[in-house]
């Protein structure tokens, strides 16, 4: 497997604060990687730098071997990056079906059709149905998003990310704010994702995240603390110190 996503000493600085500090990560094609760390560790900022929502102050980001450090968000999406957001970021006044149409056509020239029909083609409909099926929203197509529960909105985030048939899927805390039952559904959805899809995941629920991924990157205060498989992360003293507090752990 080759390096699919490569971060070389990426730093993101806001004024005097280094939210991400010289982080280097290599993710192989088809790998499932978790990025964990306590609140304020710089996980979401790192996601934002990878997807182009914020610019890296220094360092390089390579995707499929190409330098995308200065590419705008929509260019990175065109190259195959898709993401979900920590705070649900959908189109609340549109229906599930319309949200899916927007996700489908982001990379299609049909989005520039000024007077054509907005209906889905057979191929588009099959893709939308497939993603809604995986995300268990197939019966909610005509529901306006703002009328859906928070859990359903998280599922729709996943469906929209999937329908674009990305090469790299970045999930930012997909289980945040969900009930235990809803977490099970979300973890089932992630498990059902195609194995050739490269996945990078931020999540606080350790049991959930360690059961889903091949490799884990731990951040603390914007810096890379450790990278290891889940089995090693579970017993790593530095990780326990970061999550539980050094003094408490020693006690």
């Amino acid at each position: 497997m080759t390096d699919f996503l490569q971060l070389d000493t990426v730093t993101v600085q806001f004024g005097a604060l280094k939210a991400v500090d010289s982080v280097s990560i290599r993710v192989r094609e088809g790998e499932r990687r978790a990025i964990i760390g306590p609140n304020g560790a710089g996980k979401t900022t790192l996601f934002n730098a990878i997807t182009g929502v914020v610019s890296a102050t220094s360092g390089r980001i390579l995707f499929k071997g190409e330098d995308v450090t200065r590419a705008p968000v929509h260019e990175r999406a065109k190259r195959g990056m898709s993401r979900t957001f920590q705070i649900t970021n959908l189109f609340p006044n549109l229906t599930v079906s319309e949200n899916m149409r927007l996700a489908l056509r982001g990379l299609s020239p049909r989005k520039f059709s000024l007077f054509g029909s907005s209906d889905l083609s057979a191929e588009e409909a099959a893709r939308a149905d497939g993603a809604l099926e995986i995300s268990r929203l197939h019966s909610r197509r005509e529901t306006v998003v703002k009328e859906m529960s928070y859990g359903e909105q998280r599922q729709l985030e996943m469906a929209m990310a999937l329908v674009a048939q990305p090469k790299l899927l970045l999930l930012d805390e997909p289980a945040a704010g969900l009930s235990p039952a809803e977490r099970v559904i979300v973890s089932d959805i992630i498990r059902a994702l195609p194995r050739d899809l490269t996945l990078v995941l931020i999540e606080h629920d350790m049991d959930l995240v360690l059961s889903l991924v091949d490799y884990v990157t731990v951040l603390n205060n914007g810096k890379l603390l450790v990278e290891a498989p889940p089995s090693e992360i579970r017993v790593n003293k530095d990780v326990q110190d970061v999550y539980l507090g050094k003094a408490r752990h020693d006690a």
Binding site: V53, H74, P92, N93, G106, R136
Partner: protein
């Protein structure tokens, strides 16, 4: 987590479009029959209503569908009127060529405005478009050798065969019907859906692969084309243009019509134009303070029907359907 849809929700998609279609047919019938039932002067008012409805619909493309409220489309409308009148009066050209040139000029101005305004949102977009509109007004007021300054320009736009109110009304009626159909197709198209996406979340649109700036540019320019069409029709209607045609009040009036009818409804612009122009003419018969009355009516609508008349009706119907 994924409850089955309620019967009411399942029934909505088929019910609302049918009702919408019935309302469109009724509206079309109203504008087709009304001139046969009213005095000549009121045919002229109805003609003005149709023309301003196109301006209000162009405002709605940006304010209602894209979530950016423009205060310059009145100026774009006026540029088209100026060019059309200038071409027929000063250049002695054909009115139809003049109208085409007017629409072209309006499109060009809108494209330039778009380049300057598309990266702003909210109050910044509002103020920037206001400033751009004011520049046009300033040029029309001060470039006396071309625009006639405060005196304006008297044209020869309307052909002799359309000199009477009735035939001219029906020509405008047919033209506006075609334009409205085109605009309806536009807002219902895949591109129209991207505009509604930008209105709800431009950051999400970017992450899905959309070049939001490019989409905004196209939307702004298309809105300018339609404002230009309205301006060219207005040149034929009024045969006169002055700085008041490109003034801020023109843009505000277009916006008020869109809001009164209901932003994001497109057809609400006809209700808004009819309400505002109708009130202007009706109230001004009884009092010189008709603008105060109009202001009060607008406040009343904002409080009791913030989604506009058509928007309010839609909300009410949706609520009744459960």
């Amino acid at each position: 987590m994924t409850p089955a849809p309620t019967p009411a929700a399942a029934g909505k998609p088929s019910f609302m479009p049918r009702l919408g279609l019935a309302a469109v047919i009724l509206g079309t019938l109203f504008f087709a029959i009304a001139p046969l039932l009213v005095p000549t002067y009121q045919i002229s008012i109805l003609t003005e209503v149709l023309i301003y409805a196109v301006l209000a619909m162009s405002v709605d493309i940006l304010a209602g569908y894209t979530g950016r409220t423009p205060l310059c489309l009145g100026a774009v409308f006026g540029v088209s009127t100026y060019v059309t009148v200038y071409w027929t009066s000063t250049m002695g050209g054909s009115p139809y060529t003049g109208m085409m040139l007017g629409i072209l000029a309006a499109t060009l101005v809108a494209a330039i405005f778009a380049i300057l305004a598309i990266r702003t949102t909210g109050v910044y977009f509002l103020l920037l478009t206001l400033a751009l509109g004011m520049i046009i007004w300033g040029i029309c007021l001060r470039w006396t050798s071309v625009t006639g300054g405060e005196n304006g320009l008297r044209g020869a736009v309307r052909p002799a065969e359309l000199a009477a109110h009735m035939p001219f009304y029906y020509v405008v009626f047919v033209a506006v019907a075609i334009i409205t159909f085109i605009m309806w197709r536009f807002v219902r198209s895949p591109f129209g859906l991207t505009l509604r996406g930008i209105r709800d979340s431009d950051s999400r649109m970017r992450s899905l692969g959309y070049n939001v700036s490019l989409h905004m540019f196209i939307a702004f320019t298309v809105a300018g084309v339609f404002a230009g069409v309205a301006g060219a029709l207005y040149a034929m209607f009024n045969d006169f243009v002055s700085p008041s045609t490109v003034a801020l009040t023109q843009s505000v009036e277009g916006l008020l019509m869109a809001i009164t009818g209901g932003v994001g409804t497109l057809f609400g612009s006809f209700i808004g134009a009819l309400a505002i122009i109708g009130l202007e003419n009706a109230v001004s018969i009884y009092t010189e303070r008709w603008q105060t009355v109009l202001g009060l009516v607008f406040i009343f609508i904002m409080i009791f029907a913030p989604d506009g008349i058509l928007g309010g009706i839609k909300t009410l119907l949706a609520r009744k359907r459960g």
